[in-house]
């Protein structure tokens, strides 16, 4: 049911993102504004921004469930933490790829170490390190504890990175949706479409996360069944 709804919702959002006309003076309700310097390339907004948002959310969720695991020692929290990191990693790759394609057409090159690109590169590195660590430990409790600890340390360091990047390089990246000045070049139609896209992608990510948690739960139960114990 939820799968069907999400499929239809995202199909409509995708369709509208590509077919709604852009005009310099949006008059009809279905007109998107032309953003100077971006024009039709602005359409990536509806896919790139939600994926980038979810790659951060996945990481934060992974850290929050990691903290919960360290407090309560419930294996369920570790499953949730690892699954959130898995979904976040997928969206992180998607955000990197969509961003690089956009950069090719806007900046003329796929990769130029813009602060935004560097930040997402670091996020990819952290996800990679997290999964490398998980695959290197066999014992479940140890794996859960150590990966939770690593996720927390990585999260603690992230603000330093946010501080250090803009000081070194000037960014050519378009202003974030929620920028400091509070002004936006979007009109209501664009904003509604973007929010719908956010909702759709967030729904998709939580559906995937839920699926992965249920799969891992079955794997864990069947493994503990082999050891001769049962888990409710």
């Amino acid at each position: 049911m939820i799968r069907l709804f999400l499929g239809i919702w995202l199909a409509i959002v995708t369709l509208l993102a590509f077919v709604l006309p852009m005009s310099a003076n949006p008059s009809a309700w279905y007109h998107l504004p032309i953003i100077p310097g971006l024009e039709d390339k602005a359409r990536i907004l509806f896919f790139h921004v939600p994926t980038a948002w979810l790659s951060t959310v996945g990481f934060i969720a992974s850290m929050v469930y990691g903290i919960r695991y360290l407090r309560k020692r419930d294996p369920e929290d570790d499953i949730k933490s690892a699954s959130a990191a898995g979904v976040g990693f997928l969206f992180c790759i998607l955000a990197t790829v969509t961003g690089a394609i956009w950069a090719k057409f806007s900046w003329g090159t796929y990769w130029n170490w813009d602060p935004r690109q560097t930040s997402i590169f670091v996020l990819l590195l952290i996800y990679g390190a997290y999964f490398a660590l998980r695959s290197a430990i066999d014992v479940e409790e140890k794996r859960a504890t150590l990966s939770a600890a690593y996720a927390i340390i990585a999260a603690v360091v992230m603000p330093f990175f946010m501080f250090v990047m803009p000081r070194i390089l000037a960014s050519l990246h378009p202003q974030p949706v929620l920028n400091v000045q509070g002004k936006t070049e979007m009109n209501a139609t664009m904003l509604v479409l973007l929010i719908s896209s956010f909702a759709g992608f967030t729904g998709l990510a939580s559906w995937m996360w839920n699926l992965e948690v249920r799969i891992q739960r079955i794997v864990m139960n069947s493994l503990s069944g082999l050891k001769g114990e049962t888990r409710v």
């Binding site: 590195l125 660590l133 430990i137 360091v157 330093f160 000081r167």
Partner: protein, 225 residues
Amino acid sequence: MIGTFLNPVLAVLRKDLQSELRTRYAMSALIMFIVSTISIIVFAIGGGTSRSDVLAGMLWVVIFFSSMSGLSRTFVSEEERGTAMTLQLLVPPSVVLFGKLLFNVLLVIGMNILAVALYSFLMTGFTVTSPGLFSLTLILGSGGLAASSTIIAAIIAKANTKGPLFPVLALPILLPLLVVVINMTRLSMEGGDISESVGEFQFLIAYIIVIITASNLLFEYIWRD
């Protein structure tokens, strides 16, 4: 009050220094690593380059990978010799953490002095015009490097594959620090003043404090089996 915490910490430090002087494992690994990476750089780009950004970057590449080769020993050797359990019984976790941290700080500072001496000897283009800025950078950089490496070493000591995992886990944590210290090293070669880099010093000190605080909170979970 402070003595009751500090004495066992110093005892752990003394134990580590003694066993290190006995085997010289970490020291010889670090020294050989420094010598081989610097000689590769000399063969690759020659000693005469005077581009400050290249020289500053290369120096920290040497320091980063050298510390990756030696700093994990403190915890890995405890696990390999099976002495981790004894240490757990004898002292509280934070004492172990700070003892090992002090040991790593000493090791990194010693290593960095050697690396810089060798580097400036072999790379003729490497000249520091503001020594004050450079030495502060080196000391704070060493502190940050030791602080992050210690907690990462504690994590990987409990994993199955220890060697290749250490740089993989440490790089994302150390990247902001490395970016700042490379920038400051370049500045010290170009004759920058200490007063220009107050923000960077605040950054480094905050980084060290945050890492040590997080390590202290998490170490108990990592250390106890």
